[in-house]
Symmetry: C2
Subunit: 423 residues, 2 copies
């Protein structure tokens, strides 16, 4: 091979960056060589010999270095040093590889105009090669729907609540101790991280312009041990599910905790694992599962992007600049298909309460399929009651919720979650 | 785009070929155009307008046609017309795309020498993009093990036996009626089809020269309702599992019915679905599932290969000609890691039988973890008894089998199956 090797400049030497550097230095990608790195602390021992490499303090310098053909951004954060580096690389005409979903989702308008390739296999579902699968493996297909479990932190918390009966707070603390949740877990547990990944998937699959404000995003902060237990009585578990679909040219995207049937493929996804499903014509339904985060999974995806750059196969962020993409509808969740719902509330323990609640459901055209009421998990004068409804629109359930909210004489603390029942 | 379109010549217009032709004619792959077809019957109505295409009676002619840049072989069969066409295409310097695992596995020595690309995403696990994932998505990884459920016919039969308590014969008949098994199902139920796919995976992942004779291949013909039921009592299901691994530079490949823990990822794979697992460093464990056969899944994979050809990314069969690949060891199964085993036999109903059997196990260093004996599923004077052993080598279990075989006074009809317990 006489072609000169592609010279990689790597910004960020945390867990992912160190794993990546180690593999590049051992020749994992033929035709690529690590030449320059940038990190906050030059002298920390990472178990790697960086002595042959250019070391720069300011990451932006990598973009200008004569030693660097491609910039790998593993700094993180949607603005600041990461964005500065990417802008500098684009300005210098150098391709970028990044794992930074937040930056891509927030700055999609700008970055979609870049005239150099921007690769981001690592930004969505970590080690699962979902970008390559969508762009290349399913190139001749029409994608109908895709999504899945895109946040390992939420999944870890929910499965620990389910396995060990933990409260949300205890499961979160455990996830933090185990390194699966940040000290400030907001971005993960609010659903924002999953939503950032979903809008990138929506842009790839349906050519929808990323706009994080357009979509309904609910996190798992309000999921209680009570709901996990009640869901199990109906033979469901709770997962933070992200879904994007395009049916009859109607786009729908949502991130929410949903009830997933026990024994189904998504219920099977435990702890920090991620899973992406794709429904497409003609291939049918695919499910890809694997580690969604961590040094190894992320490094694996970056290595694949590097190899594609070596092969001259880097691509622009999306198929078009965002201004040429399909606009997001005003409210994604309202275009959701009718679904079954889980409705849970704390019933005021007095005669006639249940009758009045089912009356409110009936008045809104929502019929009840299953009911479970239990005395455990109650408090004082309130008892939890759970309903599984027949298929109903999001609108109908919102109306039911509002009507119940107004009746604090008979109930309080109302929760409604959709049932994911597609597999 | 001013580059001339890649002109596709398609041989075989069965279910897959017709699905593929329809999508190519509707422009599914930008830069590729269907120009010529070959099929046994020119006039059958396939719901496609073939009027603008060159139609040739003899598939080999496609290789010579001035209208054809790339040949897609969907004829099937490891020799005959399919092989003739591929040879002619290679001789004419034209790339080949094929779904024909039998031909590739049997003629790997010859086809690995071809100087034109040979693509075969559709040959392994249908719509699951496993070839692309191995070659590109996991390019910087060391693969440690891979395999899974690679034959939809066997999986359909086994899950129907499990769900509905059917006998093997009734489940096979149902699979045939449903179009999931051929009139002559031998290639599928013998494990040969799964083995052909596995040796292609082994060649891709471990650079092992394909040699179908070197590996232990067992089919599902001898799996009985009795074993399905007994496995369930131990909380297992039976799946035809294919595994290839490389640990400490030791290659192991095997196709066999195995006991898979209920609730695990592979137990979850039902009916005609396929699943491929990959264990690799640094990515960890990935599982990809989807339709392993059928028109849509196969056409999807061929479309991806066509798009890669358009992008100039076709590849030779393997990384090297087979003569430069690692030789298969003499007997794959003997290099299997120690495992737990399911041992089932028909016990002659007389005092002391069980004691003598457990004595034979103990003499061979195999210890018993669980036992279930039932009076149902017996016949005359024989009762089925099942054991789950502690970890033992394949050698030890073979010796136990031989020793029990010799004792037809106390038992008969001995079955031993490994436990797949890696997920």
């Amino acid at each position: 091979m006489s072609a000169p090797s592609l010279r990689i400049g790597l910004a960020g030497l945390g867990v992912v960056g160190a794993t990546l550097a180690k593999r590049l230095l051992s020749g994992a990608v033929s035709g690529a060589v690590l030449t320059a790195v940038s990190a906050r602390d030059a002298n920390r021992d990472r178990g790697i010999d960086l002595s042959g490499l250019e070391f720069v303090a300011d990451a932006t310098t990598l973009a200008q270095s004569d030693n660097v053909d491609v910039v790998v951004e593993l700094i993180g954060g949607s603005n600041g040093a990461a964005l500065n580096l990417v802008r500098a690389a684009v300005a210098a005409g150098k391709p970028v590889i990044t794992a930074n979903k937040a930056m891509l989702a927030e700055h999609a308008d700008e970055l979609s105009l870049a005239t150099t390739p921007i690769s981001y296999e690592a930004a969505i579902a970590g080690g699962i090669p979902i970008v390559k699968t969508l762009r290349e493996g399913l190139v001749g297909n029409n994608i109908l729907a895709l999504g899945g479990i895109l946040n390992g932190t939420c999944n870890y918390i929910l499965t620990r609540m389910e396995e060990a009966g933990l409260s949300f707070d205890d499961a979160l603390a455990e996830a933090q101790a185990a390194g699966f949740a940040e000290a400030d877990p907001t971005l993960d547990i609010s659903g924002a991280d999953a939503a950032q990944k979903l809008i990138l998937l929506g842009a790839l699959a349906f050519d929808v312009r990323p706009d994080i404000n357009k979509w309904s995003v609910l996190g798992i902060e309000h999921i209680t041990a009570r709901d996990i237990a009640l869901a199990q009585e109906f033979s469901y578990v709770i997962r933070l599910v992200a879904i994007a679909s395009c049916r009859d040219n109607q786009i729908y995207m949502q991130v929410a905790p949903m009830l997933v049937r026990q024994g189904s493929a998504l219920a099977q996804i435990k702890r920090e694992t991620n899973a992406v499903f794709i429904e497409a014509e003609p291939v049918g339904r695919l499910i890809l599962q694997g580690a969604g985060a961590g040094g190894g999974a992320t490094a694996s995806a970056v290595l694949a992007d590097i190899a594609d750059m070596v092969a001259g196969r880097g691509r622009s962020l999306f198929a078009h600049p965002t201004k040429d993409m399909r606009e997001s509808p005003a409210d994604g969740v309202m275009s959701a298909p009718d679904r079954m719902w889980y409705l849970r509330l704390m019933l005021t323990n007095k005669a006639g309460s249940i009758a009045q609640i089912t009356q409110i459901l009936a008045e809104n055209g929502v019929s009840v399929k299953e009911v479970v009421q239990r005395s455990q998990h109650g408090d004082d004068n309130r008892l939890p009651i759970g309903f599984i409804t027949d298929k109903a629109s999001a609108q109908a359930i919102m109306q039911v919720g509002a009507a119940l909210q107004a009746r604090d004489d008979i109930c309080s603390d109302i929760v409604h979650l959709p049932l994911y029942d597609d597999d």
